[in-house]
């Protein structure tokens, strides 16, 4: 292993482009997964038994089979029924369908975590169901699901590497090709590892930053600091 070669790989155009592909895969799959998970979770708490049943089957199916299988299935079976997508799109479809099942469970838990009294109070104030969801339940649910969603995001960064099996030019595939082409497995794979580590670290920091922003007690502390400053300034003027 030579440090120079490793560094060259890390900053090479091929690896940087591949990193962007991995980021795109992760962000798009995660965004669609969260959206799908939200819809599924709302379905799971619906009044209609049929809808609840559909959601239960979906979650059972996608959590009970390997993502890799789902990915290969999407890649090979959709064309048979006339749906042709490039491999990147196939990866997004498979990863987000899978993610939606996990996010559904997380969001369902978050919705249950919001006290029933909140809905009763909203109802008595005259808010409609939709308004209650939008202004009372969802904002509280988001705070509850943020930590597990952060974990899912980091998981997705790593799971996205599976897309390499359907020839998406992501970090892992580029690393493997570089490795095979140059007979240099150590440096090429380490270069990919460096990028993954940077990305997961960045995600952790990002999630933490969002949590801080949303934390009500931090907002309260900010206000208290402002008040103290205002008081001090006022005292200084006198």
């Amino acid at each position: 292993m030579t440090e120079v070669q490793l560094l060259e790989y890390v900053v090479s155009t091929a690896f940087l482009t591949a990193t962007l592909v991995t980021i795109a895969l992760t962000v798009l799959s995660m965004a669609l997964g969260v959206l799908g998970g939200l819809l599924l979770a709302l379905g799971a708490s619906s009044r209609f038994a049929v809808l609840r049943g559909v959601v239960a089957v979906y979650v059972w199916l996608f959590r009970g089979t390997p993502v890799l299988l789902q990915l290969i299935f999407v890649f090979n079976v959709l064309p048979l029924v006339g749906l042709r997508f490039d491999s990147f799109t196939c990866a997004i479809i498979a990863l987000s369908l899978n993610e939606a099942a996990y996010m559904a469970e997380i969001i369902r838990g978050g919705l249950l975590g919001v006290d029933r009294g909140q809905r009763t109070a909203s109802h008595m104030l005259g808010l409609t169901r939709v308004q209650t969801m939008l202004h009372v339940v969802l904002p509280q649910m988001v705070r509850l699901v943020l930590p597990p969603t952060g974990n899912q995001l980091i998981g997705m960064l790593k799971t996205s590497a599976l897309a390499s099996v359907v020839a998406v030019q992501d970090l892992l595939l580029v690393a493997q090709r570089t490795a095979a082409g140059n007979f240099d497995y150590v440096n090429a794979l380490l270069a990919a590892a460096v990028h993954y580590l940077l990305l997961t670290t960045l995600c952790t920091l990002l999630v933490h930053a969002v949590e801080v922003r949303m934390d009500v007690s931090r907002k309260a502390q900010r206000r208290q600091r402002q008040e103290t400053r205002a008081l001090v300034a006022e005292g200084g003027r006198r």
């Binding site: 109070a121 005259g126 509280q140 206000r223």
Partner: protein, 245 residues
């Protein structure tokens, strides 16, 4: 007596095999302060929730402002905040500041513009003595302060009836006094209120009428003065003896 604001006509409420309210008829007149008393499990909270339209009925109906409001078929009217409710557990919105807790419903339900909703909320917070806590979040307030915000929040929808379900039972004596003082103020503004409470002194001082409940029935319905000096039923006498101890 003045006009009937809300009444229940022979309502029955049961869960599976247990009957919680059986054939309860009660009325509350405009401007009146009615206190519901009775031992634990008597059905006081359930009666209040029925008035609020929060419970499905097995029989009977609730009539509000002369219109059918609840029947066993369901709820027939959108109140849009016309009945305010104050809960034992406050149920403030933890993610919103005190000011936004009060301003939320007028903004969203009545479509009041934000500056006006905030101004109105400020006035209500002044009324309950929390004008200096506008920017605070619920978790920064004492229980008594939270309950006063909850009262302001309900008042913001300009209700015609306010229901209080044991509003002070999770509070210490000092905070209980604060909240009762604000409730007194609300009554003095002419609000019609129904209160479930174990605060006998409040009931003695503020109630126009007492509904004494036991085992899912209204056992005694009497002007407060008479209820406390000359209770008619043996159960009410026993209840008052115990509360006095």
């Amino acid at each position: 007596m003045s006009e009937i604001l809300i009444e229940t006509q022979g309502i029955t409420k049961s869960y599976a095999s247990t009957t919680v309210l059986s054939d309860v008829s009660l009325r509350i007149h405009r401007g009146e302060c009615v206190v519901l008393l009775g031992p634990s499990g008597a059905g006081k909270s359930t009666a209040l929730r029925c008035l609020a339209g929060l419970e499905e009925l097995q029989a009977g109906s609730v009539v509000f402002q002369g219109e059918t409001f609840v029947t066993p078929e369901g709820t027939h009217r959108h109140l849009r905040g016309a009945i305010g409710m104050v809960f034992q557990q406050f149920n403030l919105f933890p993610h919103l500041s005190v000011l936004d807790n009060v301003a939320l419903a007028p903004r969203r339900v009545k479509k009041v513009a934000l500056p006006q909703a905030r101004r109105q909320a400020e006035e209500l917070l002044d009324l309950v003595g929390l004008g200096n806590r506008r920017g605070y979040f619920p978790h920064e307030l004492s229980g008594g302060q939270q309950q006063r915000v909850a009262i302001a929040r309900a008042l913001a929808m300009e209700p015609t009836l306010m229901l209080f379900d044991e509003p002070t039972s999770s509070l210490d004596p000092e905070h209980t006094r604060e909240v009762l003082r604000v409730m007194r103020q609300v009554i003095d503004l002419g609000m019609t209120v129904a209160v479930v409470t174990h605060e006998m002194s409040f009931a003695r001082q503020s109630a126009d009428r007492v509904l004494f409940m036991d085992e899912g029935r209204v056992v005694e319905d009497a002007p407060a003065a008479r209820f406390f000096t000359a209770p008619q039923s043996a159960r009410a006498r026993a209840f008052l003896r115990e509360e006095d101890e």
